[in-house]
């Protein structure tokens, strides 16, 4: 039997469906896929907006890998992510436990913890920058406890800590909700039986809660890492990478090469490297979720 021609109304409907997606397709090509391709292209050139791009092959990548500041920036980014996620987890886990226990005013507490997350990160950064001013809000508080740091943001030893405190404050409420969702999937029976078996709190935490929380923890680490790389605006506002290189995280460094030094080639090469790093993280997350069947 020969294939019958597709009826007109079905062809028309197919075309309509395609046309409905067309605006989104054009947008994705120009503003999402395009930039990635352009980034790869430009990363192979020497380019500032003042002169035309000049093809240089992999020179930019070789230069970046030979840059001590690049490796330092990667390690600072790593330290920032690890310490930030560590403290976020500690506080967020505690918050989630409190909310999960349904203590009085739990709803109010959750709102209070969550509230900083809805503020613009840039505004949070500006306000905290003034908090950290010599003799300002933070120092007035720490002095009460006998801790004497002068100029949190102007010392290489404390600047990264100061920014980390700010971004932990800003987002920990958000992560506590994610962890709370994980805690609520733990069956009550598991906790009760461990109590009957005479497990103490630490044992319950390490042998019951933590293993059952694994999928949530994994999600937390992947999302937290990507978000920490993305959210570099506090560094832009509070420290501009300084003092010295103490807070020059990779996201800010890319911004700097692209828009302060106007070295688009190197900036693009760096964003390609970072994109690959994020891609790896995303793939790990994908693979993991497939295993969990979620």
């Amino acid at each position: 039997m020969a294939a019958r021609p597709v009826p007109y109304f079905i062809r028309k409907r197919r075309l309509t469906g395609f046309l409905f997606f067309l605006p989104a397709l054009i947008f994705i090509i120009i503003f999402l896929l395009g930039p990635i391709i352009v980034a790869i292209g430009i990363s192979l050139t020497k380019y500032s907006i003042l002169s035309a791009p000049k093809f240089v092959g992999f020179k930019n990548y070789i230069r970046i890998f030979n840059m001590p500041t690049f490796w330092k920036s990667l390690s600072i980014t790593g330290i920032y992510i690890v310490s930030r996620l560590f403290f976020i987890f500690l506080i967020a886990f505690f918050m989630a436990t409190i909310i999960n226990k349904r203590i009085p005013l739990a709803g109010f507490f959750q709102s209070a913890y969550f509230m900083p997350y809805v503020f613009p990160l840039a505004v949070t950064a500006i306000v905290w920058k003034i908090f950290y001013r010599p003799f300002g809000f933070i120092e007035s508080l720490t002095n009460l406890f006998g801790i004497e740091v002068i100029g949190w943001l102007s010392s290489e030893r404390t600047a990264l800590i100061a920014v980390t405190i700010t971004t932990v404050w800003s987002a920990v409420g958000y992560y506590s909700v994610i962890i709370l969702a994980g805690l609520q999937t733990i069956p009550k029976a598991a906790l009760e039986s461990s109590a009957i078996d005479g497990a103490n709190r630490f044992q319950t935490f390490f042998y019951i809660i933590l293993p059952l929380l694994k999928p949530t923890l994994f999600y937390f680490i992947v999302v937290g890492t990507i978000n920490s790389i993305r959210g570099f605006s506090p560094f832009l506002v509070m420290t501009q990478g300084g003092p010295g290189d103490a807070t020059r995280v990779i996201g800010y460094m890319i911004y700097e090469y692209g828009f302060v030094y106007l070295k688009m080639g190197i900036g693009s090469a760096m964003s390609v490297i970072l994109l690959i790093i994020i891609l790896i993280f995303t793939l790990i997350q994908r693979k993991f979720f497939r295993y969990e069947g979620g």
């Binding site: 989104a24 947008f27 896929l33 203590i103 209070a112 900083p116 003034i130 003799f135 790389i229 692209g258």
Partner: protein, 282 residues
């Protein structure tokens, strides 16, 4: 055995009490910077800069909220933020649901590929594509313009994904009924499908509004001229000036936070759940 359980019930109560106290202390630590910001926004400048700091202001200075609008361009910044954010939100809702509709209720070649494209690009954060994006936008001649602030962020793959996930639950019969009634395909979308999507549209509207009201990096790159600065960009520029009256800065920070704060306070519980699922920033 029973005794042991009873005993553990009692210790449970004690622990709950302790948890409450620690919870309250943490809540205080989280609220205190906000309270301090609001108080500072009402202080005369000397009460902020004096050593030691004066915690309780000597007078309430409401002019802090007016002077920046007169001496600086904060009126323009707010207007720009409002204009850009609402335009982006409307464009995003329209095009994302149109694309989501296309992905769920039509059959055509390439549909599955389009969906994979959406999933792939969903992972690409603008913070990483900013350098090439700025080059593209400059080539389009959109630097320092509203199109430059609006168009490159007007559609999000996440929005398409979000609307698709919701629309997939709508039975095909709705569209068929519309066709029998003689509605055009676009008419079916506008009159029958969109009204069914109200919950998904509402949530997406809030996510989009908050995300864009709060964003800094992209508007900072597009708007180097004062005339096109949004509130976040304006605040950062104001902070970077040689002399910035801190009380003005605090006051404008309070105002900048208001729109998202009000939304949050109204929708609290729902919003916490929704935002935790989606996430708007770092």
């Amino acid at each position: 055995m029973l005794k042991k359980i009873r005993k553990s019930k009692k210790t449970e109560k004690v622990i709950e009490g302790m948890l409450f106290i620690v919870a309250a202390i943490i809540a205080l630590m989280f609220l205190f910077p906000m309270v301090y910001t609001v108080i500072s926004s009402l202080k005369p400048l000397e009460d902020i800069t004096s050593v030691p700091m004066r915690w309780i202001p000597r007078e309430i200075r409401l002019r802090n909220f007016i002077e920046p609008f007169i001496e600086k361009n904060f009126g323009i910044y707010f207007f720009n933020s409002a204009l850009v954010t609402t335009t982006v939100t409307f464009l995003s809702l329209f095009f994302c649901s149109l694309a989501g509709y296309s992905l769920t209720k039509f059959d055509y070649k390439g549909k599955n590929f389009f969906f994979i494209l959406v999933l792939m690009t969903m992972m690409v954060p603008i913070e990483i594509t900013i350098v090439p994006l700025a080059i593209i936008v400059r080539k389009l001649g959109w630097m320092n313009s509203y199109p430059g602030l609006i168009v490159p962020v007007a559609i999000t793959p996440f929005g398409i994904f979000w609307m698709r996930q919701f629309m997939i639950t709508i039975p095909k019969d709705y569209a068929e009924a519309g066709r029998i009634d003689g509605l055009s395909e676009f008419g079916i979308f506008m009159k029958l499908i969109l009204p069914l999507c109200k919950p998904a549209l509402g949530a997406l509207a809030i996510f989009t509004f908050m995300g864009n009201w709060n964003s800094l990096i992209w508007p900072l790159i597009v708007a180097s001229k004062d005339q096109y600065r949004t509130i976040t960009v304006g605040l950062v520029a104001f902070e970077g000036e040689f002399f910035t009256p801190y009380n003005h800065l605090f006051a404008m920070s309070v105002v900048a936070v208001l729109p998202t704060l009000v939304i949050f306070l109204i929708l609290r519980t729902k919003l916490i759940k929704g935002l935790a699922m989606v996430g708007i920033k770092g």
